[in-house]
């Protein structure tokens, strides 16, 4: 520290008696200030001109990564139903569907799923389509945005098997 350490400026009589030292700026504080200014400008240059990580580019990269990891499902393809799918489908049914279709699939707010009549078609793909897209005018939600395609397929497998689909 310099020789000015703890020397009062001597204008206390103009500041209601409050005296002020004129001490040097703490070196680490000056360093921090320079670091944030240089770092901030460096970040901006890198973000916009060097690495080109714009918001849109970040979004596209994230979506491409997800697409690679979880490829989009073909909802019209024939599905080989496994025991595992049926068990998971039953769990999903019990969590999400019993409010309207009942625990025994006998209906309630929504139609009976065990009788012979299928209002929107009884094939695997037709049931899957109904669950995916919903029937908004009847109050049936579109479940694909909520459950995702894999889970929709599992519920479909359960409903198709337990409800006696065509």
């Amino acid at each position: 520290m310099s020789k000015t350490q703890d020397q009062v400026l001597g204008h206390g009589d103009e500041c209601d008696g409050i005296e002020e030292y004129d001490n040097d700026l703490p070196a680490w504080w000056v360093g921090l200030f320079i670091l944030t200014v240089v770092g901030g400008i460096g970040y901006a240059i890198n973000y916009h001109f060097v690495s080109e990580t714009s918001q849109l580019a970040q979004y596209q990269a994230e979506m491409a990564e997800a697409e690679a990891q979880w490829p989009a499902m073909d909802m019209t393809a024939t599905v080989v139903v496994t025991e595992e799918m049926l068990a998971e489908g039953k769990d999903l049914y019990m969590t999400n569907c019993i409010g309207c279709h009942g625990p025994e699939m006998k209906g309630g707010i929504g139609p009976d799923l065990t009788d012979a009549e299928w209002v929107h078609g009884g094939t695997f793909n037709e049931i899957q389509n109904t669950i995916s897209k919903g029937v908004p005018e009847k109050g049936m939600l579109s479940w694909e945005p909520i459950l995702g395609p894999q889970k929709v397929q599992k519920v479909t497998a359960y409903v198709h098997a337990a409800g006696g689909g065509q």
Binding site: G12, D16, I18, Y21, D24, L32, T36, Y43, Q55
Partner: protein
């Protein structure tokens, strides 16, 4: 009472007293509403199914009450008290002082009626409808005329650092408020902003962030520069640091607003501007913290006995902490996690309860004995208040950090199929309920502390003999090194 002639008849202390009483009173109301809001978040039936008691209406009432009524009146009380003494003159015009006081309280009453009634502009911290906005602008200009008039008739040449900080508030808040409130009225209570879309959002957060900067930060720093050396009986650590961090702060703050709307339709370059200026704000903010804490060098021993210094140390420490947290949260990667979560609420409250509130309490405990010419009634009660408030803040902030990070992580969690692990928003909310109860406890402790202070200050003002020994009363300013007279 010390030998200092705090009661120089030349100064208008009557208006200071009014602002001080208003601040404590509205503070109790505003924090009570905050506690009710906190209860409703933990247990919704507390809204009693009454529309004007629901969270959506009480929340802006809480924020407006604590920012503009509690903090506003506190700043004005401290400003009228300190600027007259620093400038060695009575306020420029007593009528303007009275108009400022009664005008400001009328605005608060109007806000307290319109907000629960559901009348709102739907801009955060700028909810008040356009006729009230006009009244705010008029009263603010009245205050500004009085403020600059007082500077013009000052009896000293030097303008002390506190005055610069007050000045930055008087000018900047006027500009921010007027521009953000530009609307086309459609009726007496309804209006539409002149800006549209993302421009409106940008103007709103330019206002919103700088309301924090120039109402909750710079004036408090200004009065810190008056009340800390006065309370500690120590010279300010560094004049040159005060100049540098003042200009750094006022220049950098005004650009930081866009960090409130990162990852939005705001152009990338504007978002980057907000991020970069927010990060650069760290050092100027810490300059204020350093000057405050280093001013207390040589006074640390008084910390054990003097509750005022305890309040200041916690206030300045929380200022340093939340001005570190703020730049961190404005970094894109951190913001992607923290945005829209309770982390933001925790951040705001570490600044509001920790910095603004504690500074207010220290200032009230300093001013009331001087203004009413009595000794503080109970140092023990003030110390109790200190611990209630400090523990309350810690509970509040820790609960909100945990809640924010928990919910932020739950929102982005994916299951094995690449789908959201918690697609039902309520699942992420229910997880936070225990933390909301902890927040309620913390907030309630803070409110109880304020009520203890109110009781203590009323006893002090009414001249009841002090409960605790006079030797425990805060260091008198005459212990300052005596300058050449």
């Amino acid at each position: 009472m010390s030998t200092e002639t705090a009661h120089t008849p030349n100064y208008d202390d009557a208006v200071t007293k009014k602002f001080l009483i208003a601040s404590v009173t509205w503070g109790a109301v505003g924090m009570l509403v905050g506690v009710i809001c906190a209860l409703q978040l933990a247990w919704w039936p507390a809204n009693l199914n009454v529309p004007w008691l629901t969270f959506g209406r009480l929340r802006p009432l809480h924020t407006n009450a604590v920012i503009f009524a509690f903090t506003g009146n506190f700043i004005f009380a401290a400003m009228y008290y300190s600027m007259q003494r620093l400038l060695k003159t009575r306020m420029f015009n007593d009528v303007l002082s009275q108009v400022h006081f009664w005008g400001w309280q009328s605005i608060i009453v109007a806000a307290a009626i319109t907000l629960p009634a559901g009348l709102s502009q739907s801009k955060e911290y700028a909810e008040l409808i356009w006729p009230i906005d006009i009244a705010i602008a008029v009263i603010w200009v009245v205050m500004a005329v009085n403020f600059f008039g007082t500077i013009a008739i000052r009896k000293v040449k030097h303008l002390y650092v506190a005055i610069w900080f007050y000045m930055s508030m008087v000018i900047t808040i006027a500009v921010l408020h007027i521009v953000n409130s530009l609307v086309l009225p459609a009726s007496a209570t309804v209006s539409y902003p002149v800006f549209s879309g993302i421009t409106d959002a940008l103007v709103q957060w330019w206002y919103g962030h700088n309301a924090v900067g120039f109402l909750l930060t710079t004036p408090i720093l200004g009065l810190m520069y008056y009340f800390v050396p006065k309370t500690a009986g120590r010279p300010v650590y560094s004049y040159r640091l005060s100049i540098l961090h003042f200009w750094g702060l006022v220049f950098l703050y005004i650009w930081a607003g866009p960090h409130h709307i990162l990852y939005s339709s705001l152009p990338d370059w504007a978002q980057t501007t907000g991020v970069v200026f927010s990060v650069m704000l760290l050092a100027p903010s810490w300059g204020g913290m350093l000057n405050g804490l280093l001013t207390l060098r040589g006074a640390w021993d008084k910390l054990r006995t003097d509750p005022l210094l305890k309040f200041w140390v916690v206030a300045i420490t929380f200022y340093g902490m939340s001005t570190f947290e703020g730049p961190m949260m404005s970094i894109r990667a951190v913001n992607a996690l923290s945005h829209f979560t309770d982390w933001t609420i925790g951040h705001v409250h570490s600044g509001a309860l920790g910095w603004v509130g504690m500074a207010a309490f220290a200032t009230f405990y300093y001013m009331v004995p001087k203004l009413w010419n009595n000794q503080l009634y109970s140092v023990k009660a003030a110390t109790l208040h200190f611990w209630l408030a400090t523990i309350g803040i810690v509970l509040y902030v820790m609960a909100m950090w945990t809640a924010g990070i928990t919910q932020g992580l739950m929102w982005r969690e994916l299951d094995a199929d690449g789908q959201l692990q918690y697609p039902n928003f309520m699942d992420t909310v229910l997880q936070l309920i225990p933390l909301y109860w902890i927040r309620l406890v913390g907030g309630t402790m803070y409110l109880v502390g304020l009520l203890v202070m109110a009781w203590n200050l009323v006893k002090t003002a009414s001249g009841v003999a002090p409960k605790d020994g006079p030797e425990q009363v805060t260091a008198a300013p005459e212990s300052l090194p005596t300058p050449a007279k």
